[in-house]
């Protein structure tokens, strides 16, 4: 199976994630879409590593996983704090700051 297929799959996943961030309203779901984007990048990296025969791409993918885990901790803490106050995680309800 050609490696290009993996790249196309990763691009599709990345696009799904990006569109999800823009159209979904729940902060948790938006956050999951961002994680989807990061993981599609991992797939791209590993594919390129395979194609070029170097292991740099695999190492970068490990770094991305660690960073993504740190991001989850921070993100959930922030979303939790706003949820406990407002009883809602919808990004549409967060509308005090505008114009």
């Amino acid at each position: 199976m050609s490696l290009t297929n993996y790249l196309v799959l990763a691009a599709i996943l990345f696009t799904i994630g990006a569109v999800g961030v823009l159209v979904r309203r729940n902060a948790i779901v938006v956050f999951m879409c961002i994680e989807l984007m990061l993981n599609s990048v991992n797939l791209t990296l590993v594919t390129f590593a395979r194609a070029s025969g170097t292991i740099d791409g695999q190492i970068i993918a490990l770094f991305v996983m660690v960073v993504a885990a740190a991001e989850v901790v921070i993100g959930l803490a922030i979303i939790m704090s706003i949820y406990r106050t407002r009883r809602s995680a919808s990004v549409d309800d967060a509308n005090l700051l505008k114009y």
Binding site: V41, L45, T47, G57, I74, I79, Y99
Partner: protein
């Protein structure tokens, strides 16, 4: 058997100092008794950042690649590291101010308590203070200093996250108007991680196109094969991710909201240090990795610069909140900075280019903007800082000194001669003209004129309006804020009247080693 990479500890000293202080700060948070925590944390953070400042100044003239090629300690890196450490120390002083707020701190006493609950109201006026902000900020400063020295895309990404994650948290820690602050944190976090996902995809595509993430290797590969679609796409995505951090329009959507919602000292920190760090990375990426394929990024940056200047200047006109107004001002200034980036010189390592002027502009803008936000923390009413424009009417009569200082900063932001803002603008515009980008400079001058209107409007309001009856009070700043104001006022005037020495310094530092 894995060979250890060569590490030049001397060249890494600024980073080690700041990250060391951040780690010590975490330990202090865990083990020091609550009463002594605040002074200890402030001292640790200040020692770390000032140590970083001094050690980076000692490195001046250095030009080497270390840590297995992952870090470049060269002129621009050292200059910007010193700038970030210095501006970071000033911001930390603003964080440490305890005499302005009746509750003795701008930060929430317990971030985990839901806003508006009985316990929260109880803590609102309690003298308890939060001290996690100091190690978090020190980590962010360390990330920024790593960001400007990153010589490969992976280090750049890790540094981007190390600087961003603490910023997401501290922008949600305001003591007053907690809902606004939390909302700012959520928006900043979601949009920030969205942007870093783009940066990361760009990284992956560039890796695929060139087989390497080392900036110098990308340069060789791009010059040899021309790169193709993957490389251009990767470059575009990398630029999007970095421009977001630098709050350049059209990637600015978060800036006004976060600047307004975050505690004012944090806004000062973000406005000054994040901008320096992001532009440092933009300059390095564009000049070192894509220096040979300048045809690819020049039209892109050209367009973004125009959009940013116009959006910042025009939307700034309609603002009624000073923090939001300064946010749009920062978007316009990002556009002016990009005109300096366009001024790409003849030398392959960035000599004779807009690099020196852009670094000078970053230093001047950072100092002025920290000063402006420091003044904002002084003018208060019952509900914390009074940032609405109408509250500032007649401030010149109520508190002449505060109004005069604010007027100086606003004139500097507008770019009036004899202030640092004028020198910076003059330098970057000249670099752009030398490179033949005069249409861009014409747009920049028009945008400056429009932007000058909203700065001058505040000055007119302060001096030529009747003070409101229920107007705000002007707090007497404690020692930390006084130091910040003295330093920033002096720097704004000195860099405007006798900028020669610092301009030369920036010019000499403008050599990338790659």
């Amino acid at each position: 058997m894995i060979e250890a990479p060569d590490l030049s500890l001397a060249a890494l000293a600024p980073l080690l100092f700041v990250f060391g202080a951040a780690c010590v700060g975490v330990l202090v948070e865990a083990f020091a008794p609550r009463e002594s925590r605040h002074p200890v944390q402030v001292a640790v953070a200040l020692v770390g950042t000032l140590g970083g400042l001094v050690t980076s100044l000692l490195l001046a003239g250095e030009g080497l690649v270390t840590a297995g090629g992952a870090l470049a300690v060269d002129g621009p890196a050292v200059f910007l590291q010193a700038t970030i450490a210095g501006l970071g120390a000033l911001s930390l002083l603003l964080f440490a101010e305890r005499s302005l707020d009746p509750a003795r701190s701008a930060f929430v006493a317990a971030a985990a308590v839901p806003a508006g609950s009985p316990r929260d109201r109880e803590l609102m006026t309690a003298p308890r203070v939060q001290t996690e902000v100091y190690p978090l900020t020190t980590f962010a400063i360390g990330g920024m200093m790593l960001f400007v020295a990153a010589n490969d895309l992976l280090i750049m990404f890790v540094a981007l996250e190390v600087l961003s994650l603490p910023l997401y948290l501290i922008s949600g820690l305001a003591r007053r108007r907690r809902l606004l602050s939390q909302e700012a944190a959520v928006k900043y976090f979601l949009l920030g991680s969205f942007a870093s996902a783009f940066f990361l995809y760009g990284l992956a595509l560039v890796y695929g196109a060139t087989g390497s993430i080392r900036l110098s290797a990308i340069r060789e590969s791009a010059a040899g094969a021309g790169g193709g679609v993957l490389l251009v796409l990767g470059l575009a995505l990398l630029v999007v991710g970095l421009m977001f951090k630098a709050s350049v329009a059209p990637f600015h959507a978060w800036t006004p909201d976060v600047y307004q919602g975050a505690p004012t000292p944090v806004t000062a920190f973000m406005a000054a240090c994040t901008k320096v760090a992001a532009f440092g990375a933009i300059l390095r990426l564009l000049y070192v990795a894509f220096g040979t394929s300048e045809w690819t990024w020049r039209p892109l940056v050209y367009g973004i610069a125009i959009v940013s200047m116009v959006v910042g200047a025009v939307l700034g006109l309609t603002q009624t909140d000073l923090k939001r107004m300064l946010a749009y001002s920062s978007i316009a200034h990002a556009g002016f900075l990009l005109t300096g980036v366009i001024g790409y010189g003849s030398g392959a390592d960035g000599t004779g280019s807009g690099l020196g002027p852009t670094m000078f502009y970053l230093l001047a803008y950072g100092l002025t903007t920290i000063g402006a936000f420091a003044v904002l923390t002084l003018v208060r009413d019952g509900d914390g800082e009074a940032t609405h424009l109408s509250k500032w009417a007649g401030l010149g009569r109520r508190s002449p000194l505060t109004a005069a200082v604010m007027a100086l900063f606003l004139l500097a932001l507008a770019g009036i001669p004899l202030t640092s803002g004028f020198t910076g603008k003059f330098a970057v515009f000249r670099a752009a003209i030398d490179d033949g980008a005069w249409p861009l400079v014409v747009v920049a001058l028009l945008a400056s004129a429009v932007a000058a209107f909203f700065y001058l409007r505040v000055i007119v309001l302060m001096y030529f309006s009747e003070p409101a009856v229920d107007g705000p009070t002007v707090g007497v700043p404690g020692l930390p804020t006084t130091i910040v104001l003295a330093v920033t006022v002096t720097a704004t005037v000195v860099l405007g009247v006798v900028p020669g020495a610092v301009l030369d310094l920036a010019e000499q530092a403008a050599r990338f080693v790659g």
